[in-house]
Symmetry: C2
DNA sequence: CGGAAAGTTGACGTCGATCAATTCCAGTGG
DNA sequence: CCACTGGAATTGATCGACGTCAACTTTCCG
């Protein structure tokens, strides 16, 4: 038996942030088999309108979930970091209506067949609930994006997203909340915030000039965390860290 | 044994749109016990920042999930119709960060204890997956809202939402896609679309003048479905109707 | 060293916000 | 039966955030 892929350990770490799993359940998750893949930005890893039979686990880099409009405009509806199973939900709804693309060059990911995921989740009810809970956390994050897009200014939206990414990256052990690798372009972030690349640039400039942010190349340094939290009126509650003692199946 | 509440039958109907359940599993769902509640708009049914021990199933009327900002602005992140279990996800994450409010006067709902939901889902893996899938469908809808808020104009957003509500209401057996009861106010819809009530009114006027929509009192009549679909560049795929033959646990 | 993609900046236009009335309507009490 | 009331709907005038268009510069990578 070969060693599990490091990305699976990250995935287990993410699950363990919100769900308690026994040794055995953890072993079962780590034992899932998959195929490693690589991808470059601007080409679909998962194309919309098709049926998929596997979920993609980010191993290295960033991935984004894209909604497309007939006029060519696109909107990112989720950003995934290492340890995120981008489309765990496709195990329940295998016909997908969105696209998955790399936001970094390169992106490394592991394709886990739905068969593996369902086998483990059906063998261990606690794993099924951990997967279910993971999807719920994803939905909770998307709901916050709705709030941002609906009611926050462009600068506030940017600040909020940066806070979110900082904490998620920190909790995944991929950096600290004030200094982390962020290989996406301003264009990608603009597509996530629902603004144009031009305006995104002005937003970044504004945050830079206020001495809140330093964003050079692929690294982001947050120089004034409290200010950023304030600008984005950020409240980390929705990220749902901290597993709950009562969440074990009986 | 008393008869199950009619709302439970609607809920089962909703689940059955996407998941296949055996007779026994269906009976187990219908056997869940709950307490009926009523609510008026503008008062929290579920307040944010608290732990809940039950999920709310809409029986009659409309409910909305609200995100709140410090400055008092609010954004609706989901609209629920009869048969929707508003916060089924709270069974997995009982500490909620949003509020639930009535969008109609009155709203009737059934509070189902998490204990009941978890008991049934742990007894029947297929039910657990049906619940999981239901949450995934909710997330899929929210993701479309992100696309709307990020990249569509106000009129397009309104048209898209109306199409969505029409199909959801039709599939719940509460009307047809062209004529249905919609007891929410323009203010509520504005809060869902991320625009002001004033502009919402102009949007409605525009759709009315184009002969697409008639919205009088609590009834909506869509006079030109194709036009509405076109204006909102609406594609119903994300609503995920039609259960899938391969979705049964083995 | 050359080319493409990303980043950056300015000028100008527009969609939707804001402010401020006014009208409509259901419910309520006299 | 009618005045009264408060929320919703409606409309106009004005303003500002962000989009659009069009350069130009920097960075990256072969």
């Amino acid at each position: 038996m070969t060693a599990p892929h490091p990305a699976l350990r990250l995935f287990l770490r993410r699950l363990s942030l919100r769900s308690r799993l026994t040794e055995e359940e953890q072993r079962a998750i780590l034992a899932m088999r998959g195929h490693v893949g690589q991808a470059l930005p601007n080409r679909d890893i998962v194309p919309p309108g098709h049926r998929v039979d596997h979920s993609c686990l980010v191993a290295e880099g960033l991935a984004g979930r894209f909604g497309q409009l007939p006029d060519g405009m696109r909107q990112i509806t989720a950003i995934y970091i290492p340890g995120d199973m981008c489309d765990l939900h496709s195990a329940m709804l295998p016909r997908v209506e969105w696209a998955l693309q790399a936001l970094s060059a390169p992106l490394t990911y592991v394709k886990i067949p739905h068969g593996e995921l369902l086998r483990v989740s059906r063998a261990y009810p606690a794993v099924a609930e951990a997967f279910w809970r993971d999807c719920v956390v994803d939905a909770s994050i998307i709901a916050q994006w709705v709030v941002s897009l609906g009611r926050r200014s462009a600068v506030a939206r940017a600040a909020h997203l940066l806070c979110e990414m900082a904490l998620r990256i920190e909790s995944a052990g991929q950096g600290t909340r004030t200094t982390f690798d962020f290989p996406a372009t301003q264009i990608h972030v603009a597509d996530a915030l629902g603004i144009t690349a031009v305006h995104m640039n002005r937003v970044v400039r504004s945050l830079r000039q206020r001495g809140v942010l330093a964003w050079t190349g692929r690294t982001i340094r947050i120089l004034d965390w409290d200010a950023l939290v304030h600008i984005g009126s950020f409240d980390e509650g929705y990220l749902e860290f901290h597993p709950d003692a009562e969440r074990r199946p009986m």
